[in-house]
Symmetry: D2
Subunit: 123 residues, 4 copies
Amino acid sequence: MSYPDYSLRELIGFIKAFVDERNWHRFHTPSALALSAAIELGELLELFQWRSEEDVVDALADNKFKESLSQEIADVLIYLLRLTDVAGIDPSAAIIEKLKKNALKYPSKEWRGRAPNKTRTDR
Amino acid sequence: MSYPDYSLRELIGFIKAFVDERNWHRFHTPSALALSAAIELGELLELFQWRSEEDVVDALADNKFKESLSQEIADVLIYLLRLTDVAGIDPSAAIIEKLKKNALKYPSKEWRGRAPNKTRTDR
Amino acid sequence: MSYPDYSLRELIGFIKAFVDERNWHRFHTPSALALSAAIELGELLELFQWRSEEDVVDALADNKFKESLSQEIADVLIYLLRLTDVAGIDPSAAIIEKLKKNALKYPSKEWRGRAPNKTRTDR
Amino acid sequence: MSYPDYSLRELIGFIKAFVDERNWHRFHTPSALALSAAIELGELLELFQWRSEEDVVDALADNKFKESLSQEIADVLIYLLRLTDVAGIDPSAAIIEKLKKNALKYPSKEWRGRAPNKTRTDR
């Protein structure tokens, strides 16, 4: 099915409506939402368990796997967007600001083609 | 600073441009992006470490804490949105579809005010 | 059931025997084991989802919950101990060394009764 | 440095002594310990970020990397063992029981050489 290209604010509104209808506000503390996002990210990781990178590329050709991946990503996104709503954070602004910060931290000239991991001792 | 209310598609475009400029495509396999999202979610959880729910509410009144939370959420969102891009998934559709699925799973009549945890044995 | 107070080396031996019997060595790369530990830790966190600290204390009085917690902890421990085996790390020594390091970092005089979180701005 | 081949019970005793000296008991609720284990597991995963499995094997030949891995594993183990102590769980028994359960779930005849992932649709 196809959907409009919703803005983040609209998506957050849909999530909030879902929560409102079930009166789940008292469960949705920032701590509980962060924990829930972590739990769902664990389920997302499970799709990659015992699979090489090549296996994953193959699996993505399978609609059932892709659908599972899509659902697990959605679960994490829903809790994170809900967390921004509860914490009074604008996720669009947060992403743009972080990209700007990363652009200063990793100037493209210096980092072109180099992995940005902090723990490498071998370069 | 204020930004437009971007759609996920627009944000994914900004993230892709950042990756393009650094030629980081070969690092951005689905497995590596999922792992990176998990690492960043660990950093997000760190903001909640040794804090009660009341402590977190108090901390959110502190701009420095809120800014840290905003950045950690952005880090996870960036990797997840990048993962949808690499895997050919429409995150907006994924969120809407998941909300619909959850609405069937948790009818508001039955679940009003009740926590949706699967592991509860006490209700 | 009651068991002897096994040493870590003995427990690691039991885990290795299990892997040997199934010839799962090629799956047990350090990366795959670390990922598996993270997945199981997600399942462990699920036991705490939507539960206050008081709820958890109550739930621990329930044998079924305690058994679930016990199993989820075991899953993470098994993967981590297996990882030490594969990576040639002595987990006993690693724990002792880390406690010593932490003792220097958090002198008991200074830290008595104070939470050791790095991100606190409010003390 | 070399250490005896301690049992989990002995290691838990060392960890408890560390906590006793700092009077950190009120922070060490089951929820807070599970969260802390997850945070440390995120740091463990960071050592695998942007590294192929071959990169990790190479990195393990580097004492600095191996030492980092050893410390991150220790951090997770410390919190998990502390959690078993607080929750009244015998981790040795939990591991043995779980291995027995897994042995029934994955009979070696049937599973020899096959990855035990639940999400595979391709076998």
